[in-house]
């Protein structure tokens, strides 16, 4: 193997430490973590090597590492770590740093991933919405039966969201592409499987959440993650469905509670809410070892909960007919919807794409594990 020039980056180390990986330097490379981890491949397993790369501040090594994403934060490693180095949390921090570093445009990475910037992040849709509504003269509580589209007409929403999502989507794809490139170049492993079958396998795994089943002390995560995941999937489907209704059968909102769309929507919302609550509880639960969640993680959990709660309130208050409350809540809900959907590439949710690519890559390079 070629000689590598190692240049320790103290600032990167400090950054990881400051962002939730404060135990990073405690690792003494015993490799207990890689052994107790059920999600790691046998060949060049993680997270031991990621820990030393991070200890030395070798950012390049980490940026091209698929393994950071193969980690499902089960925390078996953290439980058994003899030094309290909490590799699970450190890897989680690395993912956060990566999302931030790999963001396009990079300013968005900073705005969304840094907890202190959260309000600024929320200010973006706020300003945008106020602008749209103000300019079109909708910035008031409509009369009569509560119909949200009277306040924020669907075409406006479509226009705002479509363009924002479109831009974010392009940015996300670019980020993913960059990640794929650095991963495949940085690792330079021969392929034993094509990208298409590997990707399909990955998607099937995602659907089953089978990797989470490998988690040892933190096995509840599978259910929690599944609830959140399918909640989002359901809401995504609902959103598309609503659009389809709007343009094709011309069914307008509010949609009747008896409509299957509403069923899916409500079930998804419930799933997300339960998932979100469990997620928060799980973070606080004593699992027999110390694991700290970063503020980055906490903000994400809170955002989901707020999205969910405002969504449900939007529906309930509408049904209760309190217009003065309904429209402002709806407005706030839309802020969180925007935050969730448009900031997807920069928030914790973006891990989905990175993880999908990392797993696909590991399957292609024959470093997959038995699922």
């Amino acid at each position: 193997m070629a000689e590598q020039v190692i240049s320790p980056d103290l600032n990167f180390v400090k950054d990881i430490i400051a962002s939730g990986g404060d135990t990073l330097k405690k690792c003494f490379q015993c490799a207990t973590c890689t052994v107790v981890c059920n999600a790691t491949p046998n060949n060049r397993p993680f997270p031991r090597k990621e820990m030393i790369y991070a200890q030395w501040g070798l950012k390049d090594k980490l940026i091209s590492s698929p393994d950071v994403w193969l980690c499902h934060n089960c925390n078996d490693c953290t439980k058994y770590c003899p030094r309290g180095a909490r590799p699970g949390d450190v890897l989680s921090t690395m993912r956060q740093k990566f999302i931030q570093e790999n963001a396009m445009p990079s300013i968005m990475g900073k705005v969304v991933t840094q907890p202190k910037m959260t309000l600024i992040a929320l200010a973006i849709p706020l300003v945008l919405f106020l602008l749209v509504l103000g300019l079109t003269g909708h910035l008031r509580t409509p009369e009569g039966q509560i119909v949200y589209s009277k306040f924020f007409p669907i075409p406006y929403i479509e226009a705002v969201f479509m363009s924002a999502v479109g831009l974010a989507g392009i940015a996300y794809l670019a980020s993913l592409y960059r990640f794929w490139n650095s991963m495949s170049k940085g690792n330079n492993q021969p392929y034993t499987k094509g990208i298409v079958p590997a990707f399909i396998e990955t998607l099937i795994e995602f659907a089953k959440h089978s990797r989470f089943a490998k988690c040892g002390p933190n096995a509840d995560r599978r259910i929690v993650h599944m609830l959140v995941f399918y909640g989002f999937v359901g809401l995504l489907i609902t959103t598309i469905w609503v659009t389809v209704y709007y343009y094709a059968p011309k069914i307008n909102t509010p949609i009747a509670l008896s409509d299957p769309l509403k069923w899916v929507a409500n079930i998804s919302a419930a799933s997300l809410l339960i998932g979100g609550v469990l997620l928060a509880l799980n973070k606080m639960k004593d699992k027999g070892f110390v694991s700290k969640s970063s503020t980055f993680d906490w903000i994400f959990a809170i955002m989901i909960l707020l999205l969910c709660i405002t969504g449900i309130l939007t529906e309930l208050i509408r049904l209760a007919g309190i217009a003065t409350l309904a429209y402002p809540i709806y407005f706030i809900h839309l802020l969180f919807v925007f935050y969730t959907i448009v900031f997807f590439p920069y928030s914790k949710l973006s891990h989905m794409g990175y993880r999908a690519l990392a797993i696909t890559y590991s399957k292609m390079t024959n470093r997959d594990i038995q699922i």
């Binding site: 193997m1 070629a2 000689e3 590598q4 020039v5 190692i6 240049s7 320790p8 103290l10 180390v13 400090k14 430490i17 330097k25 405690k26 003494f28 490379q29 090597k49 030393i52 790369y53 200890q55 030395w56 501040g57 070798l58 030094r83």
Partner: protein, 743 residues
């Protein structure tokens, strides 16, 4: 002393079942003409002991022969001060290892009884040899942390101490240190002041301590308790009386320029760990590198530089890992600086692990396992460290502003030991070679300058790489020069804390040695022994074997080559007794004649075999006892005779035995060679060496050499030993009876 004998035979513990005790008593009274022989069912019980005590009080019995259990047990019961007491081991060696009531068993018991009575007849009560004018002053050589600790500890226990230091100030290596690690709680701050000045003050101000600085030990004459030590300091020489010596001369850093691939001497910014301390001290914590005085912000530490390496130091210096972790802390006093540590294994044993844990938890201290291959120039005075097998990748290259080599320690005794060993080797090739060696080899600085016939320093220990170490795990101060105890880094590789503990240990042994000498008893391991070698020098032929073979250098020679015993150096092993062809060395209870007479006391029948086994008291004898405890059968033709050490084995006994018709001779000694087990250094090895010469005797007697054999036995061999002995007996039986039987 006029001897009044009392023979007592115990019938307990199965002895009565195994032998006919009445017949045995008859052996004592009839064959050995003892005035009386009493038997008792339970001799070690209160009544039995009283029986003996009554005889002492009423009959004036003063020479007691007790045929019962092994002398290793019931030592309190059978302790009769002021008497000669001989224990005959007919329990473990007879009743417990032989079939009951056979003729062989009976003969075995009666031989043991006769041998012991014979011995008792020859033994005298010891009179301790207390020399006049014993000094109780302790000399500590070396004023570093070890020497100062030893001096203070001895002085605080009430001893007078003389401390000599070759430099102009006390403190040793600690003077060079910028900081040290905390002593007990390994929490922030991880680097603290050494406070060496306070200790120096304490030493210099202590009323029991006299300090000589810029001083050298010119000559050490005499023996423990009576050393005449000549100290030269500041141009003047002074001879003072010294009792015992603590050698705390410490270490020298390994010459880093010998480690070619690490660039020391080639590149200015490659320094040793000691030089790094000096840099840190000079910059008061700021690390200004030698080439350009620029502050070093990337410092690479290379562990095991020239250590754990067959081409350099083949040992670990025990302190460099912690030192580098500490020094990385110096680097990190600048928050923007980085310390990279390349190690093979991080060695922070015991609680030092907690220091590692704390020190490591620092953003700017980077560690990796690595085999460092080269240090090369990177321009601007910077350096590349290239390494393989790292945790970061198979081959890596890191740039550093400064490279610190964690070089190891070389004991100050190394050079002089090597010189002496070379001299011995040359001398063995003849006077010419010796002369050539003396002329061609530069004489190193000696430490002790002993005027001993065996040389001026503590002899080297195989596998100790020049350290003045003890060969024994259990006995860390079992020195080969009585009265001289090494401590600190000259003793073993160790850190500062360990050195201070070691210093107290060595200081104590020096004090204890003087206590023994003042009482006329031997120094460890025979610390109860009041006997001493008393050679009949009129018959000495000046063959010099005793002076050469004495493991402790206790015997000097006069101009005619006649040995001169320095009894305070002697440890009473009897090696000189074994060495002496004239058989003139004797102790009151241990002599060529006594053992020879025991051999002669064995009844050698015309039919049947007899084997004598000379047995090391410390290992083989307890192993045989334990075989008895486990009721292992041993061939009844074997008679065991314990020796203080097999080094006392005199060849005449072999000749005596064989010429009397004894069929075989077995020597049971301990393991020799590297990792030898003999507490008298070379006892069993010398016995083996002497056996090599027995061939002559055997040839003269026209006997097979296989009749004499030596076995190396460990104390834990009790399970195997009976089998080995029985095998030997079988071999002798195959050879056939000794033709001298009946002569």
């Amino acid at each position: 002393m006029e001897k009044k004998y009392g023979v007592y035979v115990c019938k307990g513990c199965g002895i009565n079942d195994a032998v006919d005790v009445e017949r045995l008593a008859n052996v004592a009274t009839k064959d050995m003409k003892m005035p009386s022989c009493k038997t008792h069912d339970f001799l070690c019980g209160p009544e039995g002991v009283q029986l003996i005590k009554d005889d002492i009080a009423k009959e004036g019995v003063n020479t007691i022969i007790i045929a019962a259990c092994s002398p290793r047990v019931k030592y309190e019961e059978f302790d009769f001060p002021g008497t000669i007491t001989e224990r005959v081991n007919i329990r473990e060696f007879v009743a417990w290892s032989q079939p009951p009531k056979t003729e062989d068993t009976q003969n075995l018991a009666s031989d043991y009884l006769m041998m012991s009575i014979t011995k008792a007849q020859k033994v005298d009560l010891p009179q301790p040899n207390i020399l006049e004018g014993i000094s109780s002053t302790i000399l500590v050589i070396g004023g570093g942390i070890t020497g100062m600790t030893a001096a203070l500890d001895a002085a605080n226990a009430g001893s007078k101490v003389v401390l000599i230091e070759k430099e102009s100030q006390l403190g040793g290596f600690v003077n060079k240190l910028y900081k040290k690690i905390p002593t007990s709680e390994f929490k922030e701050p991880l680097i603290i002041d050494t406070d060496i000045d306070k200790m120096v003050k304490q030493v210099e101000g202590h009323s029991n301590i006299k300090v000589y600085k810029s001083a050298k030990l010119e000559k050490t004459d005499g023996q423990p308790g009576l050393y005449d030590v000549t100290i030269s300091a500041n141009g003047a020489s002074e001879t003072i009386k010294i009792g015992a010596i603590v050698m705390a001369t410490g270490w020298k850093p390994y010459d880093a320029s010998k480690i070619d691939h690490l660039g020391y001497g080639k590149f200015k910014n490659v320094v040793t760990n000691i030089e790094f301390e000096e840099l840190a001290k000079k910059g008061n914590g700021k690390i200004l590198r030698p080439s350009d005085g620029k502050e070093a912000k990337r410092v690479a530490f290379i562990q095991c530089a020239g250590q754990r390496d067959p081409n350099h130091l083949p040992y670990c210096s025990s302190m460099c890992c912690v030192t580098s972790l500490k020094q990385a802390g110096y680097v990190r006093q600048n928050p923007d600086a980085v310390a990279m540590i390349f190690y093979i294994d991080i060695r922070t044993p015991g609680r030092l692990e907690l220091y590692y844990k704390e020190a490591q938890n620092n953003p700017g201290i980077m560690l990796t396992k690595a085999d460092v291959k080269t240090v090369s120039e990177a321009g601007n005075g910077n350096l590349y460290v290239e390494a393989e097998n790292t945790l970061l990748g198979e081959k890596i290259k890191a740039e550093a502003d400064l490279v610190v080599l964690a070089t190891g320690i070389v004991p100050t005794t190394k050079e002089s030991q090597e010189y002496q060993d070379g001299l011995t080797q040359a001398a063995s090739k003849g006077d010419e070679a010796k002369k050539a060696y003396l002329e061609s080899t530069p004489k190193p600085e000696f430490i002790l300058n002993l005027s001993y016939r065996q040389g001026p320093e503590i002899p080297s220990l195989e596998g100790a790489y020049g350290f003045a170490d003890s060969n024994f795990i259990c006995f860390q101060y079992e020195t080969r020069r009585t009265g001289i105890y090494a401590a600190g880094a000259v003793h073993q590789p160790m850190n500062m804390m360990e050195a201070q503990q070691d210093a107290a240990g060595a200081a104590f042994k020096a004090i204890q040695c003087l206590d023994h000498i003042s009482k006329g008893i031997a120094v460890h391991p025979r610390a109860w022994d009041e006997t001493f070698p008393d050679p009949l020098l009129i018959r000495c032929t000046a063959c010099k074997r005793c002076t050469e073979e004495c493991p402790f250098g206790a015997i000097d020679e006069d101009e005619k080559g006649i040995p001169y015993y320095k009894v305070n150096r002697c440890r009473r092993c009897g090696t000189c007794m074994g060495a002496c062809p004239e058989r003139i060395v004797a102790f009151k209870d241990y002599s060529v004649d006594i053992i020879g007479s025991m051999v002669k006391a064995i009844d050698v029948p015309e039919e049947g075999f007899r084997i004598v086994a000379f047995t090391c008291e410390n290992d083989a004898y307890p192993a045989l006892d334990t075989a008895g405890i486990n009721r292992k059968n041993i061939d009844p033709s074997v008679r065991f005779i314990p020796l203080r050490c097999l080094g006392g084995m005199n060849l005449v006994w072999v000749a005596d035995a064989l010429s009397r018709g004894i069929d075989g001779v077995l020597l049971l000694g301990c393991k020799f060679g590297e990792n030898y087990q003999c507490h008298f250094v070379k006892g069993s090895e010398l016995a083996e060496y002497r056996l090599g010469k027995v061939g002559e005797t055997l040839n003269r007697l026209q006997l097979e050499s296989e009749r004499v054999q030596m076995l190396q036995v460990s104390i834990s061999d009790s399970d195997k030993l009976p089998g080995l002995i029985n095998e030997f007996v079988e071999k002798v039986k195959e050879i056939g009876p000794n033709p001298f039987k009946g002569f």
